[in-house]
């Protein structure tokens, strides 16, 4: 969604609602306080559990900190009682990569189609919105029952993959809509006039221009899958994904292992976010450098 806004939109921001000359109106201070409160409430609790996950063996679920060690991280990956965390990590990341690739390709294609009206486009669009808002658990059970009726075993790479796509694809297409709306059709026309074929127009004009938006879609695909819970619960089959593992831990593990798992999975999320933002920045900079050469 962050890709939906571009710097050109923000450019005129200095002429703010409040006169930009002189002092700030009182609303600025009130809203600044509200914003600060929001950010503190957003990050505060998360930071608490990251800190608490570094306690030693005497550690409990609340402050004060008892000692400082990596005990609970080791516990997480070695104890049987916490389940197969390593395997769940492995599966979740593989599944997220699969979902990401499919989401990027399919959303891009669908967004290309939706640029023009075509017979039945409203039906496809309504199906997509329906799939986005349908209760995840209900959909998951439906997929489970369907696979059951067809005699196919549920598995994380089959039924769960499909169930997750029914949620990441509508999201991806909506983000693609926002990305596409910034694409100037004149560029494609120019390419057509110069004799580019339909494939060349997509490969050589659209894809490079839309690359940052596609990275944003990939970020959505990966993280929505990596954290998906409700749709996966009844479709993952015998082997758990990571959110399911965390869920079973919240119900029966009352040690800082749970927090350690939270810290580890958040580090992975942050790495993914940083990689995505870094890629976008790299594309933009390379573009800027090229433009500067001319």
């Amino acid at each position: 969604m962050s890709a939906a806004m571009t710097s050109s939109e923000i450019r005129s921001k200095h002429r703010a609602i409040a006169p930009s000359r002189g002092g700030r109106p009182w609303t600025f201070y009130a809203l600044a306080a509200l914003f600060t409160f929001y950010v503190v409430a957003l990050y505060g609790p998360m930071i608490c559990i990251y800190i608490l996950s570094f306690q030693d063996v005497r550690g409990g679920l609340v402050f004060p900190m008892k000692g400082l060690s990596l005990h609970w991280f080791i516990d997480l990956f070695t104890q049987v009682r916490t389940g197969d965390v390593k395997g769940a990590f492995d599966r979740s990341i593989k599944l997220a990569i699969l979902v990401t690739i499919i989401t990027v390709v399919v959303s891009f294609m669908a967004a290309l189609a939706f640029r023009r009206r075509f017979p039945g486009d409203n039906i496809v669009f309504s199906l997509m919105i329906g799939s986005l808002v349908a209760p995840g658990l209900v959909l998951g059970i439906g997929v489970g029952l369907l696979f059951n009726a067809l005699g196919i075993e549920t598995s994380w790479y089959g039924s769960a993959l499909g169930a997750q796509l029914s949620w990441t694809l509508p999201f991806g297409v909506l983000v693609m809509f926002a990305v596409m709306s910034r694409f100037n059709p004149a560029w494609e026309e120019a390419a057509r006039d110069l004799g580019a074929t339909a494939w060349q127009r997509i490969w050589l004009v659209m894809l490079p221009v839309l690359a940052p938006g596609l990275v944003a879609v990939a970020l959505f695909g990966f993280t929505l899958s990596y954290d998906e819970f409700a749709r996966t619960l009844q479709t993952a089959g015998p082997q758990n994904t990571l959110p399911l593992e965390i869920w079973s831990m919240t119900l029966n593990v009352t040690s800082p292992s749970l927090y350690a798992l939270g810290t580890v999975t958040t580090i992975i999320s942050f790495l993914i976010i940083a990689a995505a933002l870094g890629t976008i920045a790299w594309i933009q900079r390379r573009r800027g450098a090229r433009a500067g050469m001319r």
Binding site: L34, M109, P135, V138, L146
Partner: protein, 287 residues
């Protein structure tokens, strides 16, 4: 190219349709079919048409309570995320003068969206618990003598967790709408003497309608379709429609669970289409 335009469009959209049919349309139909079957009591379905499951669901007082609780949480969460999300977006769009800073602060708000919801929910436990940070701080200051019990495992905690998770779904679309508002309109209103409140009421809110609608769809559908936050954060004190559905599945009561699921899905779809009637989302996003 010899292919006709609609055919090309369908070719491009076909992968999406090929996922949506087996993983959205068919599963919902399966649930619909299961809801009119009889159960043999052991998890098996007997294919005879009956509306008894619906009669059972619609007449039980339990259903009424479940829906009441779920709708209560939905309305509370919607209200608080809307107020908080609207003013956070308003602050970023109209009060932060440096555009780069505005984008930076906006990204700061979106980062947690990409981390695990479950982890973000349980992270309230060390804060809100009886021995949590808030209670011990209040005790130390001397404001209270006994730890406050209502902070965790209560309706309060459920709403806190939902608002914490979902405010971002309001901020992003509303901020997007606000960024498109022509600042000259606002300045003109200011120059002819409109008060700040009038500008908010007569210009900003109407122009943010699509953002508000989009955010509301996300928040309402996620809260109504969720059971996990209610289950954990209420400590078992509150139930939700989907939670009861999950319990039913656990004891293999597929038909009544399916009837309840169909009812919920219908209510959700009606709510979403009512919101969609106020605004053409597809046109708004692609604008």
């Amino acid at each position: 190219m010899t292919l006709s335009r609609p055919l090309v469009s369908w070719l491009f959209v076909s992968p999406l349709v090929l996922v949506l049919i087996p993983f959205f349309v068919l599963p919902i139909l399966v649930v619909l079919v299961a809801s009119v079957f009889e159960t043999d009591g052991f998890g098996g379905l007997i294919p005879t048409f009956t509306l008894a499951n619906y009669a059972e669901v619609l007449t039980s007082a339990l259903t009424f309570n479940l829906y009441f609780e779920t709708i209560k949480f939905t309305v509370l969460t919607w209200f608080f995320t809307l107020i908080l999300g609207f003013f956070v977006a308003y602050f970023l769009a109209f009060h932060v003068r440096n555009p780069l800073l505005a984008i930076g602060l906006f990204l700061l708000c979106t980062v947690p969206f990409w981390t695990s919801n479950i982890i973000r929910m349980i992270s309230w436990i060390p804060l809100l618990g009886k021995e949590g940070l808030i209670n011990s701080a209040l005790l130390r200051v001397g404001l209270i003598r006994e730890p406050l019990g209502f902070l965790l495992y209560s309706s309060f905690a459920v709403v806190v967790a939902y608002v914490h998770q979902l405010t971002i779904f309001m901020i992003v679309p509303i901020f997007n709408s606000m960024a498109r508002i022509d600042k000259r309109v606002v300045e003109a209103a200011f120059d002819v003497g409109a008060s700040r409140f009038d500008i908010l009421r007569l210009i900003i809110v109407p122009l943010c309608k699509s953002g508000i609608a989009l955010g509301s769809i996300f928040v309402v559908s996620i809260v109504m379709g969720d059971f996990f936050v209610t289950k954990v954060m209420s400590g078992g004190g509150s139930a939700s429609v989907v939670g009861a559905f999950y319990e039913d599945i656990g004891v293999l009561q597929y038909p009544s669970a399916a009837a309840s699921a169909v009812l919920l899905t219908v209510i959700l779809m009606v709510a979403v289409s009512l919101i969609l009637r106020t605004v053409d989302i597809r046109k708004e996003i692609a604008r």
